[in-house]
């Protein structure tokens, strides 16, 4: 039987197990939308902006481990989704984005709403296709999902001209894909794995440096086994949070620019760094030449280009974390004896000493302004039994969320690390909520970031995605302000937002619920109320405006040289009362 391109599109999605598509229509994709409208297997979530659609698909993908799917129109629809594609590319998120294109006969003619979608997306996709013939459509979609989800995952774009969605072809869906230039390596080299095992048994001060690859690979169980068997402490990257239980005694929390003191000291003084699915980003290494200067490095990564990109590696292992760790554990089981605890004692004593010397800290006065850390900490304590999914935007609040919201399991943490995209948090949370309608999904947002995709509140209300947004409202681009305080003599060039909208009223304007906590004493009750509320909620929490996030390794600094608190002149300035306190927030809002 012959099907139209639009019907083929839908049949393919069904066969890929797609349940939800985040989409916004336009002229050249009307045929596809019209066909989607007449079926019930796939749900369309109509977003208010294509960037929102892209981030929702990312949130969906990160929470489920499956490819997220979005559908946009040509021209401006395509350019709007680019940020999300770039974000997914940097953070290795499996995404299949379908874009509409002008009819094949008009391509290159500067037709209405034409853009070179393949050209625009080339540098920010793992691969992209322009389908010129309806007979190729099914096989192309199959390849797109295959490429997006295998190897190092990433976004793939499929550009479908209008006439291709209208034309007819025999439908047959290929069972398998074979691309001669694309054969990701899953099995690690046996000899190298043996070298790794040997290095591990010899090491006295080893450290695991685990990243997003462990989450993608679903290797948390294997990682846990490795760490427990060998008693090796675990440092996580921002993207690796949740790969290892945050409350586990072997966890040192996050490492890097805003990582914990012990995580960074441990990596600096270690004699063996075991990098698993992490890519030695400059936010982690700091000054590359002085990163873990005393250590041998083992690097397990599925992407050969990640290995030795910026750090010398002694034992490179190209392969999938899960497969490689399994094999490594098997060797170690035979060689590692029960005395690991004893053997590691001096190392752990050292780590404990670091921990005690400089734990994460902040001062919350009872009647003082609310500290952002306090909000995250209470939110964590109040919700941890519900196994929530947590998204963040980008800025200080993101770092506090990373420090204080301890994740027990993978796929609960949605954050934009590589691109650092403000506006990511809310739509990503919605995407996860669309996949798990009954779970608690929290979005820890900044007052600056949330305004970048606020429009999606309309989507949340209409599509019934009851995300709880907690805004840590400092009326600042706080992260920018922090850098200005530390490195630009406190000149707040374009970081003071001065006035933010009344987020409570804004929520209400969209038909959602708005709440505010402006006293420490109210914090718990307001957060509880938000969690109990059925629909989407914004909780606006005015926080102390000048709180800074520590520890901090200045860009290009060394990992053992962290700034741990405000330098004296900054403390003085703030104590001098030159700055506005949160109390005048209300006057600003009502003014």
């Amino acid at each position: 039987m012959k099907l139209t391109g639009a019907q083929i599109f839908i049949e393919c999605l069904k066969r890929e197990g797609v349940k939800t598509v985040f989409a916004l229509p336009g002229g050249v994709v009307l045929k596809i939308f019209d066909t989607l409208h007449q079926q019930k297997d796939i749900e369309i979530i109509l977003t208010r902006h294509e960037q929102g659609a892209g981030h929702m698909a990312e949130g969906y993908a990160k929470a489920t481990g499956k490819a997220g799917v979005c559908l946009v129109t040509s021209g401006p629809g395509m350019t709007n989704v680019i940020t999300a594609l770039a974000d997914a590319y940097m953070d290795s998120v499996p995404l299949v984005c379908f874009s509409g294109q002008v009819p094949t006969s008009l391509i290159g003619n500067d037709a209405f709403q034409e853009a070179d979608n393949v050209g625009l997306s080339r540098p920010c996709t793992k691969y992209n296709f322009l389908v010129k013939d309806v007979n190729d459509l099914a096989a192309t979609i199959k390849e797109a999902f295959y490429i997006a989800t295998t190897g190092r995952p990433g976004p793939v774009l499929v550009d479908i001209p209008k006439d291709v969605s209208m034309a007819e072809a025999e439908f047959s869906y290929p069972n398998s894909v074979s691309i001669r230039g694309y054969n990701p390596t899953y099995e690690g080299n046996k000899w190298q794995i043996k070298q790794a095992a040997e290095a591990i048994t010899k090491a006295r001060k080893p450290i695991l440096y685990v990243g997003g690859g462990v989450v993608f690979s679903g290797a948390s169980q294997e990682l846990l086994e490795l760490a427990e068997m060998t008693q090796i402490p675990v440092d996580m990257t921002l993207m690796g949070l949740g790969a290892f239980p945050g409350e586990h005694p072997l966890s040192l929390g996050m490492m890097g620019m805003h990582g914990t003191y012990e995580a960074n000291m441990a990596v600096h003084y270690s004699d063996l760094v075991i990098a698993v699915g992490s890519r030695f980003d400059d936010r982690v290494t700091g000054k590359v030449s002085e990163f873990c200067p005393h250590a041998k490095v083992i690097h397990i990564d599925i992407d050969p280009t990640s290995i030795r990109k910026n750090i010398h590696v002694d034992v490179p292992i190209v392969g999938d974390c899960k497969t490689v760790l399994r094999e490594l554990n098997q060797i170690l089981r035979a060689t590692v004896n029960g005395e690991q605890k004893e053997l590691r004692k001096p190392w752990w004593n050292q780590i404990q000493a670091w921990r005690q010397a400089h734990p994460l800290t902040y001062q919350q006065e009872k009647d003082g302004p609310i500290k952002p850390q306090q909000v995250v900490k209470r939110l964590y304590e109040l919700t941890k039994d519900r196994d929530p999914i947590v998204s963040t935007d980008v800025g200080q609040h993101q770092m506090w969320a990373a420090q204080y919201f301890k994740l027990a399991k993978p796929n609960r943490w949605l954050t934009s690390g590589g691109l650092g995209t403000m506006g990511f948090g809310f739509p990503a949370a919605m995407g996860a909520q669309a996949a798990f309608r009954n779970r608690l999904v929290l979005c820890i947002a900044g007052d600056g970031s949330i305004q970048m995709n606020m429009q999606e509140m309309a989507t949340a209300v209409v599509s019934k995605l009851p995300v709880k947004i907690i805004i840590l409202n400092n009326r600042f681009h706080g992260m920018v302000r922090q850098w200005q305080d530390l490195f630009y003599s406190g000149r707040y060039a374009s970081s003071d937002l001065e006035n933010t909208p009344d987020f409570v009223k804004l929520a209400e304007a969209y038909g959602a619920v708005g709440l505010r906590a402006d006293k420490v004493a109210d914090l718990d009750s307001v957060l509880r109320k938000a969690i109990e509320t059925e629909g989407p909620v914004i909780v606006d929490i005015p926080t102390y405006r000048f709180e800074n996030c520590y520890p901090m390794i200045p860009a290009g600094g060394c990992n053992h040289e962290m700034i741990l608190e405000d330098p004296p002149e900054l403390k003085q300035k703030q104590a001098g009362g030159k700055n506005v306190t949160p109390e005048d927030k209300d006057t600003v809002l009502t003014a």
């Binding site: 393949v118 050209g119 080339r122 540098p123 793992k126 691969y127 322009l130 490429i147 691309i179 001669r180 230039g181 694309y182 390596t185 080299n189 000899w191 190298q192 070298q195 290095a199 041998k296 992407d303 050969p304 280009t305 290995i307 030795r308 990109k309 590696v313 002694d314 034992v315 490179p316 190209v318």
Partner: protein, 172 residues
């Protein structure tokens, strides 16, 4: 250091821009690039002349391998290879110079492939040094046009493509 990298790619639309985009996007050098279909018309062969230290070349090779349309990558510097470049040079020749032009052509074993009353069009192939040399000699006569193919190269013996598992092993 200069490296010649031989890349077998899918012979389809857009592949050249993916390869070029990789080099420009990551700030790698391309000194020359030549591309043409292979015996099997579904594939093309690219010869890329690039330069960089060991670490950069390793990344270039890995990134080329990572491109989905790339089928095989060989770093020819790892083996013995022969390479050639062809130039087509159109020289302006006054009567007095015509004999001199022919002499130069002869010395370099080049060919005159076209001639008008006032020009010779000369084809020469060889390594870049030889081409530079003939250009230098012809310049005084007046070069009107010069096109060069960029280098193409082939390994003397069959070589294994660079594999994904990095070859270096643990230092003890």
């Amino acid at each position: 250091m200069e490296h010649i990298i031989s890349v077998t790619v899918e012979n389809k639309f857009g592949v050249l821009s993916r390869v070029a985009g990789l080099f420009s996007g990551r700030g790698f050098n391309i000194e020359s690039l030549s591309v043409a279909p292979t015996l099997d018309p579904s594939m093309s062969q690219m010869t890329i002349v690039t330069s960089g230290d060991e670490r950069i070349i390793e990344q270039i090779v890995k990134h080329l391998n990572k491109l989905i349309d790339v089928i095989k990558v060989v770093d020819l510097n790892e083996t013995e290879f022969v390479s050639r470049e062809t130039a087509i040079i159109k020289v302006h020749t006054k009567d007095a110079d015509r004999a001199e032009a022919l002499r130069i052509v002869d010395i370099f074993r080049a060919n005159v492939i076209d001639s008008t009353t006032s020009t010779y069009t000369i084809e020469v192939s060889g390594d870049p040094k030889k081409i530079e040399a003939i250009i230098n000699l012809l310049q005084p006569l007046g070069i009107k046009d010069l096109v060069r193919t960029g280098r193409v190269a082939v390994a003397r013996e069959p070589v294994r493509p660079v594999s994904v598992q990095t070859k270096k092993v643990a230092r003890e």
